[in-house]
Assembly symmetry: C2
Homo-oligomer: 361 residues x 2
């Protein structure tokens, strides 16, 4: 009978069930369950028999059924606010790294920036009873919190933040990263700084500029706001800005750039004006986007956001939250400086030259 039934079943679902295993092993359902889960005390011989039968049949417990009874799904949702770009790659792999080791599967949800689509994804995640949610974006700016109703579910904002102090946000430490770059340039003997960066409505842009001013102040290095140029996150802006800057201010000997792309444009612009990097002007980028930073000639000294680490941390924290802890607030992951050739120490001849220029001015 049972065999007949099996034969008439579609080949599509030959998935053996626990009761198949029990039957094959000649034990009761519940016994088989215990044997496979290592629960309770069974005669080793019985356990063996069940294990053997399970292997024979290629049995796999149905996670859906398990989740139902356990009240945990071992899945989490990854809600990407934006049609995600290059930043999310290391971020996502970091998150996965942390989660996969804990046997947790990740639902990928791109909202393409549409609130309706976000809600749709959210509904679906809740219906699937995810154990937690990580929200990410393509920028660190503040965003509206996701709406979970009155449901208390672990949520982490990674590479984005919300105003609510009761939630956990994980962000790169843009200030510390900027400090790294600027102090490095100062150590190379540079004193005449400029900053070419992205749109001011990016919080990262504001933080980096602010910290640059602070560091320069600490070193008593004069600085004027005319030397901060904000534009698009594009090479062409870097190129254009370099020209604007040098027309105004030929004394510059260091440019702290807001991205590697911008830095590349800057280097190109300088080269065309016959200005040498790093001899005449030292350059630093931001992001350590390798394919970009290493292709520039000379290769860029730049700040690495450590997004993979940031993702891993987000995953780890989420696991802790699922485990019952409730960390809150803003956690910043430190950046690191990757030194390449674009920021070497100022050569003597140039120091002389710039002094001369100063006198002329």
């Amino acid at each position: 009978m049972a065999q007949d039934k099996e034969n008439t079943e579609r080949i599509l679902r030959p998935l053996p069930t626990l009761s198949d295993v029990a039957q094959a092993a000649g034990v009761a359902l519940s016994t088989a369950s215990k044997a496979l889960n290592g629960q309770g005390k069974l005669r080793p011989e019985t356990r063996e028999r069940v294990l053997e039968a399970a292997k024979q049949l290629g049995f796999r417990p149905n996670d859906l059924a398990q989740s139902l009874v356990r009240g945990r799904s071992f899945t989490v949702g990854l809600l990407s606010t934006d049609n995600y770009g290059r930043f999310s790659i290391p971020l996502v792999t970091g998150i996965e790294d942390a989660l996969v080791n804990a046997q947790i599967s990740v639902f990928l949800c791109n909202t393409l920036g549409s609130p309706e689509r976000e809600q749709q994804h959210l509904d679906s995640l809740l219906a699937k009873h995810v154990d937690g949610i990580i929200v990410t974006s393509d920028r660190t700016n503040s965003r509206a919190p996701i709406d979970l109703g009155k449901l208390d579910l672990p949520v982490i904002y990674a590479y984005t933040r919300v105003e609510d102090p009761n939630v956990l946000c994980i962000l790169p430490d843009d200030e510390q990263g900027a400090r790294l770059a600027v102090e490095h340039l100062i150590k190379q003997g540079r004193r005449h700084f400029a900053h070419i960066t992205g749109p001011v409505y990016f919080e990262a842009v504001q933080l980096r500029a602010k910290e640059m001013r602070a560091v320069l102040g600490e070193h008593d290095i004069p600085f004027t706001e005319r030397r901060v140029l904000s534009g698009a996150w594009e090479e062409s802006w870097g190129y254009e800005a370099a020209n604007i800057l040098l027309d105004r201010d030929p004394l510059i000997d260091a440019i702290f750039c807001g991205s590697d792309q911008i830095a590349r444009g800057v280097v190109d612009g300088l080269r065309e004006r016959g200005i040498r990097v790093p001899e005449d002007i030292a350059i630093t980028g931001f992001d350590n986007w390798e394919v970009m930073a290493t292709a520039v000639r000379p290769p860029l000294t730049t700040v690495d956001l450590n997004l993979h680490e940031l993702g891993k941390l987000a995953g780890t924290r989420l696991l802790q939250m699922i485990d019952g802890q409730r960390p809150t607030g803003i956690e910043r992951v430190p950046c690191s400086l990757v030194v390449r050739e674009s920021s070497a120490a100022q050569s003597k001849s140039i120091q002389t030259k710039s002094k001369i220029q100063q006198r002329e001015a």
Copy 2:
């Protein structure tokens, strides 16, 4: 009694269940189910009452339970063979596009190129009873098929392929893409071709080179294998190769590049030799990696792999397979040509010049 029970439940799971809804609406469980699923015939008034109660309680059907009884999970797995890079971004968003519209959630699985990790992910996907799997990679080369045992589950290989003719593989049409670029260059009046490309073990490299030869042959344009230079997928290789090529062969008036990155290196190399693009030599790239292609001066004419479309197609085909169809074989998605400034028509003066050079040679 029921109320007492509810009150003592942890706030963590205030998720109302169907029976809560039924109770609130004063109907039986099954009635509530029917009302919510639009099944059977109920008095509109009853249905209203149930719907109202459901909304009031913020009821969400538990997908886990639904999947269990329906035998479908409305989830699919996305198995990325490699620590995925820039190519997978449009691919993945395309896949999501197609799937999200069908109310299907996507499990993200990066295997980081490790077979054990792949198997681990696969086991997990099967345990979660996904309705299908899409396998992708960072290159279109052939790979080993995933091992599903004797389980018949819809699988699609996207941007990668397997030798088995009984499975469905979706790939970009590299040959057609190469033809697009080469015919375009020919139309611009170019006759002296070179090809600077990536490693020969990439199947795409072979296909593109092969088609280039074919197209040139069709137009009776002579070509020699010395003018094919294979190297790394890097700007620096393009730069180096441009110099090698022109030392050998100054007559070249068109370079068909295997990637935008390489093309950028080539353009840089040419510029430094005082060769004008496109006046002296026309260049085409491959990939239409916008941030790269548009930053080059002049901006690159290039071939777009239409990976977003490819992803969408993969998602659509998977839905069809889940629906019972079993398409097999290799399906190629056409590329398109994006014309920018790097490939303009040859200027008259140059044609003259190259004729002179030809006589000299």
